[in-house]
Structure formats: C-alpha cells, structure tokens
C-alpha cells in the first residue's frame, strides 16, 4: 500500500508539537457548472488578480482566484456531515450546544476540531494542520467569465405582481464558465495516516464551492501528485506559471475550453522536477497515487466509514482526558 511509502512523513499519532513532517498535494479543480467566487458581495466582479503569466513569459494577465477560504470551508463542512451522522461531534463546553462552525463554541474534541483547528474556544485553541493556498486559473480571466441576467419573476410569471408593481429583482451578474481549471496546492502538516485519509477524502468528496452552491458551483477535484518532505512545495502561483510556460512551449491553444489532458501532462512535467528541490524528498508514482486514492475510497465507503471515523475519533482520546481532568479541578475550586 502506498500509504506506507509516506510513513516517514506521517505522524504515528497526534502530537502537540510540530515535527516538520509535510505532505504536499497538487490538486486540479475543474468547474463543472457556472461558479461564483467573489469577495465583495453581490454584483461585484469575480475574484481575479493581475499576475505574471508565466515564469519565462513575463507579461501580466488577469487570473481568476479561488481563495483559500473558499476551499477549506466547504471541505470541512463535508467531513462534518459524516461526523454528525455517526454522532462524532461533541457538545461544546461553553454553550452546551453541539459543535458548530462559526458560532464561537467549538466542541474542541471532534476530528474536525483537532485537524482543521479552532480559535477562541472555551478552554483553548488548536492550530489547523491543513494549510490551503489561493488557487489560480490557468487561462486569463477574460476567457473564462460570462454574464447572466437575473430576473426574479413573481408567481404570476411576470415582472409585475398582482397590484401592478414592477419587480426590482433584475440585475446582471458575472459567473465563471464551466470547464475552468484551477491549479492548487494543499499542505498537510504532521498528520496521521487516518487524518490524511480524512482530509483527502473531504477534498475528493466535496463537489460544491462558492456562492449559491445549492444551484451552481459544481466542481470536480483531482489529485495530480502527492509529495512527502520536510518543507513545503513551491506556491500554486509558481505552479500555474510553470504550467503556462509549458503549454506555450508545446503550442497548446490557450483558449477556453482548455484541453484537460494537455493540462494534466504539462502539470505532471512541471511537478516531476520538484523532487530535486530542497526539502522535497519524494513523490508518489502514478501507481502509488492510484493505490492511495483507492485506499481513501475504501475507507470512506459505506461499509468502512463508521469504523474508520470511530478509529480516528478515538485516537484523540488522551488529549481529551487531560482537558476533562482540568475542568473537573476548576469546578472543585469554585
């Protein structure tokens, strides 16, 4: 099994202090429907940024950005759905309510709290061991953005209600076209084998990102490479720039829709050079990567899901007991 190949970069069990074990994951995210990523609210343009097109091609282009917040939040929520289903979310000590994101009352005990972290809890804080990075579109944003006019008609089917008042719900809004590729790098620090399966499972199982995700925002995530090492991979900006140079060198037409296979090949040839870089020790071969994904799929399958999640949940037990004892003491002193 390929997860054994990563053994020296995996923690045997959760430890409180960082030990410099780093797993880097190269992810290709492809939109499967219209998608909306913006940071300034309704009606504002999509998140985009002017960056250098390639490492060698130094002209600047506008690229779409999928910010790190827009990646990690849906992926956490995906994992938490399963935790909730198996009753592995605990009651928050502060508010007596079940563990819930962004309510200022994390349970501090569940898998999600331990792996993705929490702040401002009742008793303490936990740093995230899943590091995300802004992902960039390969092509310039001008190719990738369309406009939709939205008109919310009344139940009469017209823009006027029964009293004859005109609807004000008419506007034009930007969206990202389907088939847009984002290249992304995720970093996992000091995770155990089960935590790796959990985090990558979340990444592979999450299918909706961005605004209005019950209607649009469908996205497919593909893992193109897994690295083990003592330091991080180069940034996703440098990756996307390297891929851009490679596509130009290979005379791939840089227009939307971009050929996915050509993009994957270009990405592979860029990341294959990384193993020689400082601090990056090894990359899983494509067979090992397939085996790893198979391993993840098996653990998340309906039959094994519960055993897997319960085993992961139990691995944090020693850290929970320390906490429970300290709260007991606190009560006595009162």
């Amino acid at each position: 099994m390929s997860i054994e190949k990563l053994q020296s970069f995996l923690a045997p069990n959760y430890e409180n202090f960082p030990k410099g074990r780093t797993i880097g994951v190269v992810v290709l995210r492809t939109t499967q429907s219209e998608t909306i990523f913006r940071t300034e609210g309704t009606g504002e343009p999509m998140c985009r940024e002017s960056v250098q097109a390639g490492v060698q091609n130094t002209e600047s282009i506008l690229r779409l950005v999928m910010t790190k917040r827009k990646q990690v939040a849906p992926e956490r929520r995906r994992g938490r759905e399963f935790l909730r289903n198996h009753e592995l979310l605990y009651t928050a000590p502060k508010s007596d309510s079940p563990c819930s994101l962004n309510t200022n009352a994390p349970c501090e005990m569940c898998v999600d709290c331990f792996l993705y972290g929490f702040a401002a809890g009742g008793e303490g804080a936990q740093k995230s061991r899943i590091w995300t990075e802004d992902a960039f579109s390969v092509l310039p944003s001008t190719e990738l953005i369309g406009d939709r006019t939205i008109n919310a008609v009344f139940e009469t089917g017209t823009m006027r209600d029964e009293k004859g008042n005109a609807s004000t719900a008419l506007k034009t809004s930007e969206y990202i076209k389907p088939g847009v590729h984002f290249l992304d790098i995720a970093t996992l620090k000091d995770v155990t084998a089960d935590e790796l399966r959990y985090a990558l499972g979340n990444l592979l199982l999450t299918t909706r990102y961005g605004a209005v995700s019950s209607r649009v925002g469908r996205m497919e995530n593909q893992i193109l490479g897994v690295f083990g090492g003592i330091s991080e991979l180069p940034s996703s900006l440098e990756l996307v720039q390297g891929v851009y140079d490679r596509l130009i060198a290979e005379n791939v037409a840089l227009e939307h829709p971009l050929n996915t296979n050509a993009l994957i090949e270009a990405t592979q040839s860029v990341i294959n050079t990384w193993t020689n870089k400082r601090g990056i020790s090894m990359q899983l071969s494509s067979e090992e990567l397939d085996a790893l994904i198979e391993d993840i799929d098996r653990h998340w399958s309906l039959d094994e899901q519960e055993t897997f999640l319960k085993r992961l949940d139990e691995s944090y037990q020693p850290y929970r007991q320390i906490k429970q004892q300290s709260t007991k003491k606190g009560r006595k002193n009162k």
Binding site: E15, N16, F17, P18, G20, T39, E40, G41, E49, V51, K68, R69, A73, R76, R77, R80, S95, D96, S97, S100, L101, N102, T103, N104, F114, G117, A120, G121, E123, G124, A125, Q126, K127, S128, R129, W131, E133, D134, D190, S231, E232, L233, P234, S235, S236, L237, E238, K277, R278, G279, Y319, I322, K323, S326
Partner: protein, 260 residues
C-alpha cells in the same frame, strides 16, 4: 536542545548577517489594527512572526488552560540569544500595496440567522426571542462574523537581515491565514562593530529588542502588537554596520532578557 546549553555570558556576537528578500506568493494578513469591523495590516512583517515561521521556535498545535491567554515569546525566543536573530521585515518599495476584502462566516446548519454579531443556528430559539427573551444562541459574541480586511497584496517584496548560521527554508507561512512567502537568501555580509556615536538606522527595529543602554533620539513608531516597530531611529550607542545598513549593536529577542 543546544539552545538551552548556551551560556549567555560568553555568547559570541554575530560575525555575519544575510540580507533576505521575502516575496509574498499570497496576500498576507495580520490584525495590526482593528477599527470597528475593519482589520488593518501594517506594511511590515514582525520579527517574532518570522522567527516562528523560520522554524527557530515552535508553538504547540493545541493550547489549553492558562496558555491560551498569554504569548510564549519569552520562553520560545530568548533561548535563541547569540544564535539567531532577525529584524522585522520592511517593504522593498517605499510603501507596499494593499487590497481590501470582505469576509463573512456562516454556520454549517441548513437554517441560520445573522443576529447581533453572531450566527444563530437553533430555530427552537426563535419563539423565545419573539417573546423578548434573549436565548443563548442570539447573544452577541466576541467573535467577528463579518468585516473587512486590509491585506498586504500578493507580489509585494520585503527585506530583512538574518543573523546567525543555519539553512533557511525556501518557503515560509506567515500571518493569520498562514500565507505562503518565498524566502530568497542573499550572500552573508560581515557585521562591522562601530564605536558608540550618534547614528541613524535605516531598517525597521523591534522596540522590545533594543539593548538597554541605547539612547534613542527620534523615530517613527509603527504601533502593532505584540511590540511596536521603530523606523528611522536616530540613536546614540554602539552600532553594527552590515553592507549599507546601520543598526544598533547587540540586538536580541526581548533584549536577551529571559526573565522580567
């Protein structure tokens, strides 16, 4: 750890320093100033943040009990005295470029309500609220749910001087959102010791790290937590010259004081 074996009395002063350039592969955010629901990043990267980012000291993943309420700079950084030191990073261009972003935080429930600085999730509490009572989930929280961030933009470059030996990582993560920053290490430059005189410093300095006998005359203050930064410091005292940079001599984290 070799750090704890170090004897402070015969600690060697640094003989060389390296000029390091930091390139922001991602936007960098620190809550340097908080004005209502807007959070500002100042155009500098503090040297305590950099010391942790470079792996010289490591903060635990999980904090419990009284550790959550206080920083560990003294325990973590003063053992580095004489071994490693880094200045706060200053922007290469005169002023860095910033960007503004909105953020909002939502719950993972299907039903939620934005209440007074709080995302409420318990629909059961609605009737209680209508009667004028304030259920727990509706009480305001000391936790921002929406706001605006001023962030150092992607592609900005910062410079700093690193004292002491040892390889530096190629990439580090800094800031509240652990943003990726590339580290380009320059050649080692000799540190020239200059006698006590009046000098003008052309780097940023951490006010807590200055040697006790230094006489500062004038400076610009960048008021940020945990310790304010100084720029354009004019001072009387011994100095170090590194290339074109002039800084007060004998800088150490927290002035090298391991105790109050």
């Amino acid at each position: 750890m070799p750090q704890s074996e170090l004897n402070l009395s015969d600690s060697p002063t640094f003989t060389t320093a390296r000029l390091v350039e930091l390139w922001c592969a991602e936007p960098v955010f620190f809550a340097s100033r908080e004005l209502s629901d807007t959070y500002y990043t100042e155009g500098a990267i503090g040297n305590y943040a950099l010391a942790y980012a470079l792996g010289w000291a490591r903060a635990p993943y999980r904090l419990t009990g009284k550790d959550t309420g206080r920083p560990r700079y003294r325990e973590d950084l003063t053992p580095l005295a004489g071994q490693h030191y880094i200045l706060p990073a200053w922007p290469v261009e005169n002023s860095p470029s910033y960007r503004f972003e909105r953020f909002n935080a939502l719950s993972d429930a299907y039903w939620y309500a934005m209440t007074n600085n709080r995302v409420a999730t318990a629909r059961e509490d609605l009737p209680l609220k209508r009667t004028g009572k304030k259920p727990n989930t509706y009480r305001p929280s000391n936790f921002p749910q929406t706001g605006r961030l001023r962030i150092i933009d992607r592609g900005n470059r910062f410079q700093t001087l690193v004292f002491g030996e040892g390889e530096l990582p190629e990439y580090i993560r800094v800031g509240k959102f652990t943003s990726k920053v590339r580290v380009d290490v320059g050649e080692a430059l000799p540190v020239r010791q200059l006698p006590a005189d009046t000098y003008r410093c052309n780097t940023y300095l951490n006010s807590a790290d200055l040697p006790p006998d230094l006489e500062p005359f004038a400076f610009d203050l960048i008021a940020i937590p945990p310790a304010s930064l100084l720029k354009n410091l004019q001072f009387h005292g011994e100095a170090w010259q590194i290339g074109n940079f002039l800084i007060p001599a004998n800088l150490e984290f927290l002035g090298g004081n391991s105790r109050e």
